[in-house]
């Protein structure tokens, strides 16, 4: 058995982490008789009491459809739904809440941009640039659209160290490039991509920029105006909010000019037999009854994160991932993918063990991690590994949970030793 020596973590506010953990009822549960160490936050985060409570209140006290009824419940629901939009708008420093479009999540946000902006602006001879590290949600929509519209899809390559190789940026971003779409933080490598450089390259040729912020908005302060991206997408469920809701932010002139993607109720101003007129932003892009409870839940999550403090959250996660990096590096046969400077997640392989076997043994020890290709097969192909195991952290994780992971990995090593 491995013996863990004490490693000091002065940057971590252990007392505050313990207090924060009290806000998350699920963190008190046990799995297979062991305390749960939930290290799968890049897949989905846990929810604080405040989020659970506000969604419960909505259903118990003012559940109704929004933007329709003239009755009290509908008015209350509408006010709460729109307040959530305002909270999100302020959280990412959007100039206006009209530029906050509620989607089902990051994936839907990208598909919306592809199908609305993409269909109106892309054709034969044009190029869309994505990267080799993208999540499937930022690859497949563009492949589908390319097959229909005939533009060229190009990939910004990776360095051996798991960072974007910017040496060919000058040729890959050129006069034909109409869109550069990439992830802010890699969900496999942990790489934090240089948004500024990519935005500058895109601006120089008049290309638009879509930023997949699914792994950054939950973990660091985000200012869409400072980033100067044209579109930014993220998901609620990775940032203490419920599933089924996410956000597309867009620059106003772009959103105004874009045609609707989905048609239906709420997105129209007028419907006649011969044609219809679209509603104003953001409703033009919100056809059908929205996820009201989920939006309200996301609003509460944003409040919660703000009260904890995004700067603090980022600093704590950085300290914790440094600790985890040190600990995991001590394990013989463990290979970490991606750069040393990283966001709060670590994907790795351990000897020749299949990540599914690793995850199954870890689960028996109460440790929840993700195993597989994390919806990013191309980056695994690029790294030459079939799959990886991934531990991903949030501000409620503590070093003791990293230790629990390390001990469980040691157990797995021994269990499968030949």
């Amino acid at each position: 058995m491995v013996e863990l020596t004490a490693v000091a973590t002065p940057e971590l506010d252990l007392e505050r982490i313990e207090r924060i953990r009290q806000d998350f009822p699920i963190l008190a549960r046990q799995v297979h008789g062991k305390p749960l160490a939930y290290l799968d936050n890049a897949a989905s985060s846990q929810k604080p009491e405040a989020v659970l409570r506000i969604m419960d209140e909505y259903y118990r006290q003012y559940n109704a459809n929004v933007h329709r009824g003239v009755h009290t419940l509908s008015e209350e629901a509408t006010a709460a739904y729109e307040l959530a939009r305002l909270k999100v708008s302020r959280f990412i420093h959007s100039p206006s809440d009209k530029q906050i479009i509620f989607t089902r999540g990051t994936t839907e946000g990208i598909n919306l941009v592809a199908n609305s902006w993409g269909r109106a602006n892309l054709g034969v001879g044009d190029e869309v640039l994505i990267t080799e590290m993208e999540h499937h949600s930022n690859i497949v929509p563009w492949q589908i659209l390319r097959d229909q519209l005939g533009f060229t899809l190009r990939y910004l390559p990776l360095t051996a160290g798991g960072e974007l190789d910017l040496s060919q940026l000058d040729t890959l971003v050129n006069a034909r490039t109409k869109l550069v779409s990439f992830m802010h933080v890699s969900n496999v490598l942990g790489t934090v991509n240089p948004v500024q450089e990519l935005v500058a390259a895109a601006r120089a040729v008049g290309a638009k920029v879509l930023l997949d912020a699914a792994q950054s908005v939950p973990h660091m302060p985000i200012d869409v105006q400072a980033l100067d991206v044209d579109f930014l997408v993220f998901s609620s469920h990775k940032m203490c909010g419920p599933t089924g809701i996410g956000v597309l932010y867009g620059k106003r002139d772009l959103l105004e000019a874009m045609p609707p993607w989905m048609g239906g109720g709420d997105m129209i101003r007028e419907v006649k037999m011969e044609g219809s007129k679209w509603n104003a932003l953001p409703y033009k892009f919100e056809a059908g009854t929205p996820s009201v409870a989920e939006a309200i839940g996301l609003g509460a999550a944003v409040d919660y994160l703000s009260s904890v403090g995004m700067e603090w959250i980022h600093a704590q996660e950085q300290a914790l991932v440094d600790y985890a990096y040190t600990r995991l590096s001590e394990i013989e046969g463990l290979n970490i993918v991606g750069p040393e400077s990283r966001a709060g997640l670590i994907a790795f392989t351990l000897n020749d063990l299949h990540p599914h076997d690793l995850a199954a043994v870890l689960d028996q020890e109460g440790v929840a991690i993700r195993a597989g290709h994390h919806c990013a097969q191309p980056v695994h192909d690029r790294l030459g590994v079939m799959a990886t195991a991934r531990a991903s952290f949030y501000f409620y994780n503590k070093p003791a949970e990293v230790d629990q992971l390390v001990l469980a990995l040691d157990k797995a090593s021994q269990l499968f030793a030949f």
Binding site: H32, H354, H356, D357, V361, H373, A387, K411, F416, F418
Partner: protein, 128 residues
């Protein structure tokens, strides 16, 4: 270690020391299958005389569950009639493994069976 409820000792033993692993010369039945979700691959080869399996081999790579299941199944098919093997199902494999298994890992356990059944039925691919 043998007390681990998921990877019981018999599974680990088959994983560490797979039976019938390798390649058969002049196999009568040869079938390859893979699981795109986790990348597991399996190839099964059988020698058949008068509808009875007289030799068996598997090759592949993957997790402990898929590899151990393949090894166990190869032991089981020896001396069996093709028509017996054609009737093997999920429950048969789960009984061999002797563990509770969730829906995700079930695919790992069933991959060798899929390959085996496609082989003994002479199908291109075992239908999902």
């Amino acid at each position: 270690m043998s007390t681990d409820p998921f990877y019981r000792e018999a599974i680990l033993d088959h994983y560490r020391h797979p039976r019938h692993k390798g390649h058969l010369e002049n196999a009568d039945i040869h079938h390859h299958d893979h699981n795109p979700f986790c990348g597991d691959e399996i190839t099964i080869e059988l020698k058949v005389e008068d509808d009875v399996i007289v030799d068996a081999a598997f090759d592949g790579r993957g997790c402990a569950i898929s590899q151990a299941t393949a090894s166990m199944l190869m032991e089981e098919v020896m001396g069996k009639r093709l028509e017996d093997v054609r009737g093997w199902d999920k429950e048969y494999v789960l009984e061999l493994l002797g563990i509770e298994i969730g829906p995700v890992r079930l695919k790992c356990a069933l991959l060798p069976l899929k390959a085996l059944k496609a082989g003994v039925w002479g199908l291109e691919e075992w239908p999902e």
